[in-house]
């Protein structure tokens, strides 16, 4: 038939119709037909990474900074297995990704062929959904459904495995609007459905004396409008608000209602307020164990409202009083209109007492650290980075560990989608490729990966990618020659036995940068710090800034595993009681 095209062409046509501008990938035997088709067109850009793991984190960074779906293209076998970490990361942090993997031709499936693996079997638990496409005529409908599923409801990664013979075969292309996806395969919550719950929730908030909003990444996934509405509602109520690691930026740091981040390394005032509140309004967060601390002591006297698009998050670890299933934007919009319709007014006298109490907690100044001496404190490095970049459109990514927590504590985010970090899975090596993805999505913005010396080495090969595509990503390494967070736990829980957490034989990061034809900078003392940061920002090239920080600094405040929100550790001298320390030791 005349209107038949090859499977590989269907892939590209589907991507184009879905509005895909860029694909992050790495070629190999089982995807050669798709790469051949890619070569013959100009509408979709391909970013060649240096390891498939980098491709998927780059796609995550692209997706989270732009709100679009990230697309990955890799080959069969090792190509597919290398993206498993990233798929799991995207699953945990609800990032919309479509990952295309090549597969050996169908007649070889099951024969232990070269570069064969059971990709759909391996990725089943770490994707929202996956497909092995055996019929070229189903390829376009699978692609359109995959994009819809990746973005629909709680976003997540979807994988499409395409045998090589299907890429070569001829078939017909079906357009997006011709595809009907059965409703049970999607999640379409309607706020009308939850009308009574919403009214109940709003009434509960109006009667609160000590309310707190607890904001999560769901607000960011719901789009920028959701953040606006959340801010508006919090302003109307006049309530304090705290954000999870994933929710930073939903409410600006400088907002008068913001108490900053909560949880294990969150703000003292935020955790205390969570502990003592009488009404908790959880919007798009999931009571993660990093947030709740010990469950039996978690906010014992509060009524809890939980807005989540994923019903399985309701009553999963914390029982709530008013669950609302739905999209943040729709639900909060409805809440505001109910509040206005019913002319609710919060008890301002009680609210004032509540704020006074919170302000007392703030006086503890939990982020306080000793900043004496010539040596750079990691906290100070992040503070200076913030001060010198706050007037620029800046995206911050991080790896995982102490530097990540210091970034979350000391970098002040005023907008959503500017902060990209691996929260749920805690993937070291996420930040640099994610920064590459963010820079691809925002060529003119400043993108900084706040990294640790250990994490950065997990995907350092992507330097080559950054240089090839002229991506002026800045890597800001808080170099303490340790896996800092591991060392901190060993100090606090394992008698200071620093088993394998010292990173010996680190590269000279300046020379490393230079060997890639990037710029390498180093700051050894506080005097040099500002100059290095300024130079880093002004350089129109990829930069590694190697910041030598004090080696054994700990990240405080901290709720140790096994402790509750009101048992925060503010410094090293404050010991956890022995019983909960013993109990906490076995936890993660």
């Amino acid at each position: 038939m005349n209107n038949e095209i090859t499977g590989a062409e269907i892939v590209l046509k589907s991507l184009a119709e879905q509005g895909v501008e860029v694909v992050f990938g790495y070629p190999g035997g089982a995807v050669l037909p798709i790469y051949d088709t890619l070569f013959k067109q100009n509408s979709i850009k391909h970013v060649l990474v240096r390891q498939e793991g980098g491709a998927i984190h780059a796609a995550e960074g692209y997706a989270r900074s732009t709100g679009k779906t990230g697309v990955v293209l890799v080959t069969s076998g090792p190509g597919a297995t290398n993206v498993v970490t990233g798929l799991t990361d995207a699953m945990m942090d609800s990032v919309p990704i479509v990952c295309i993997t090549g597969q050996v031709p169908q007649h070889l499936i099951g024969s232990d062929a070269f570069q064969e693996c059971d990709t759909t079997g391996i990725t089943r638990p770490c994707t929202k959904h996956n497909y092995l496409v055996k019929d070229v005529n189903k390829l376009s409908s699978v692609f359109h459904e995959a994009f819809t599923i990746a973005q629909n409801g709680r976003p997540g990664p979807v994988l499409i495995d395409i045998p090589k013979d299907v890429q070569f075969a001829s078939g017909t292309y079906e357009e997006k609007n011709k595809i009907i996806i059965p409703s049970h395969r999607l999640f379409e919550p309607s706020p009308d459905f939850e009308k009574n719950k919403i009214e109940e929730a709003v009434e509960l908030i109006s009667m609160a004396k000590k309310p707190i909003f607890y904001i999560g990444g769901g607000c960011i996934n719901s789009g920028p409008k959701a953040s606006e509405l959340v801010r508006e509602f919090i302003n109307i109520v006049g309530s304090p608000v705290t954000m999870t690691l994933m929710g930073l930026g939903v409410v600006g740091s400088s907002d008068k209602n913001s108490l900053g981040m909560l949880g294990m390394h969150g703000m003292y005032e935020a955790n205390m307020a969570m502990h003592e509140c009488d009404v908790m309004i959880n919007i798009g967060a999931r009571f993660d164990d990093r947030v709740t601390g010990r469950l039996d002591a978690f906010s014992p006297n509060s009524k809890k409202i939980h807005i989540d698009i994923d019903e399985s998050n309701i009553n999963k670890t914390i029982n709530v009083d008013v669950p609302i299933i739905g999209d943040v934007k729709q639900v909060v919009e409805k809440m505001i209109s109910v509040w206005r319709e019913k002319k609710y007014k919060i008890d301002t006298e009680s609210l004032k007492i509540w704020w006074n109490k919170i302000n007392k907690w703030k006086e503890i100044d939990c982020l306080n650290y000793n900043n004496e001496g010539k040596q750079i404190k990691p906290q100070y490095a992040v503070q200076r980075l913030y001060e010198l970049t706050k007037n620029t459109k800046t995206f911050i990514t991080t790896e995982v560990g102490q530097h990540q927590m210091w970034a979350a504590q000391f970098y002040k985010f005023e907008e959503p989608n500017r902060w990209l970090t691996s929260g749920g899975l805690g993937t070291m090596g996420y930040g640099f490729p994610a920064a590459i993805g963010a820079q691809v999505g925002h060529p003119d913005a400043l993108v900084v990966d706040i990294a640790g010396d250990a994490s950065i080495l997990m995907n350092i090969q992507e330097m080559s990618t950054a240089i090839q595509y002229r991506l002026p990503v800045k890597i800001f390494i808080l170099n303490n020659e340790y896996m800092g967070m591991v060392r901190q736990w060993q100090e606090l829980l394992h008698g200071g036995r620093y088993s394998e957490s010292y990173t010996d034989s680190l590269p000279d990061f300046v020379k490393l940068a230079e060997s890639y034809k990037a710029i390498g900078l180093r700051a050894k003392t506080t005097d040099e710090l500002d100059d290095v940061i300024t130079q880093m920002i002004e350089t129109k090239n990829t930069v590694i800034a190697d910041i030598w920080v004090t080696k054994e600094e700990n990240c405080f405040p901290m709720i140790q595993s096994g402790s509750a929100h009101n048992e925060m550790m503010l410094s090293k001298d404050q010991k956890q009681d022995k019983k909960s320390a013993e109990k906490g030791k076995i936890l993660v």
Partner: protein, 180 residues
């Protein structure tokens, strides 16, 4: 409450047997998705049964017998619903009244001394002898799991047996309107 890094503060309800019936798109991998959810999240499967439904070959019905507290089972239901090809999940215990049955095939080692007792017991339980080419004594018994259990206990007291069981299937017995 469910599992978490931390001990659960709430009163845990009693562990009970639940029969879940799950309607799914009949597509490759769907059973693996369902089973994988159970093993991946540490839930129990006591028995599992899959078959196409009579009126639509594109849909299969998976019947799962599990046990857990009502909180755990409610979490299982919600996790099942997250799986894309899952249409619906019904907890037949929660619905109140349902009918369940399973089939067991029993190979009975028979001798002149126990023959009479075996046949009497099979008669009592309305177990049916299945004719076969080798002329061995194989009985089929169908019914609620409880009844099959009792039969197996009693026949075991008489002689040696080999048993295969299908695991239960169940259906809601609540009256429905025609349109539904």
């Amino acid at each position: 409450m469910n599992k978490s890094v931390y001990d659960s503060p709430d009163q845990v309800s009693e562990t009970k047997r639940h029969i879940l019936t799950v309607l799914v798109d009949n597509e490759p991998g769907v059973l693996a998705r369902v089973i994988g959810m159970f093993s991946g999240r540490g839930y129990n499967i006591d028995s599992l049964n899959v078959a196409e439904v009579s009126n639509d070959e594109n849909i299969s019905r998976i019947t799962i017998v599990t046990h857990g507290t009502s909180e755990v089972v409610s979490q299982i239901e919600k996790q099942l619903l997250r799986i894309v090809p899952v249409h619906s999940v019904t907890n037949l215990d929660q619905e109140g009244s349902s009918v369940e049955a399973e089939v067991a095939l029993v190979y009975i080692y028979i001798s002149d001394s126990n023959k009479k007792k075996v046949y009497q017991l099979c008669d009592l339980y309305r177990a049916r002898k299945i004719e076969n080419e080798n002329n061995t004594t194989i009985f089929e018994i169908a019914g609620a799991s409880e009844r099959v259990n009792r039969f197996i206990t009693e026949i075991n007291e008489i002689t040696k047996v080999e048993i295969v069981r299908s695991g239960p299937v169940a259906i809601s017995s609540i009256q429905k309107n025609e349109e539904e």
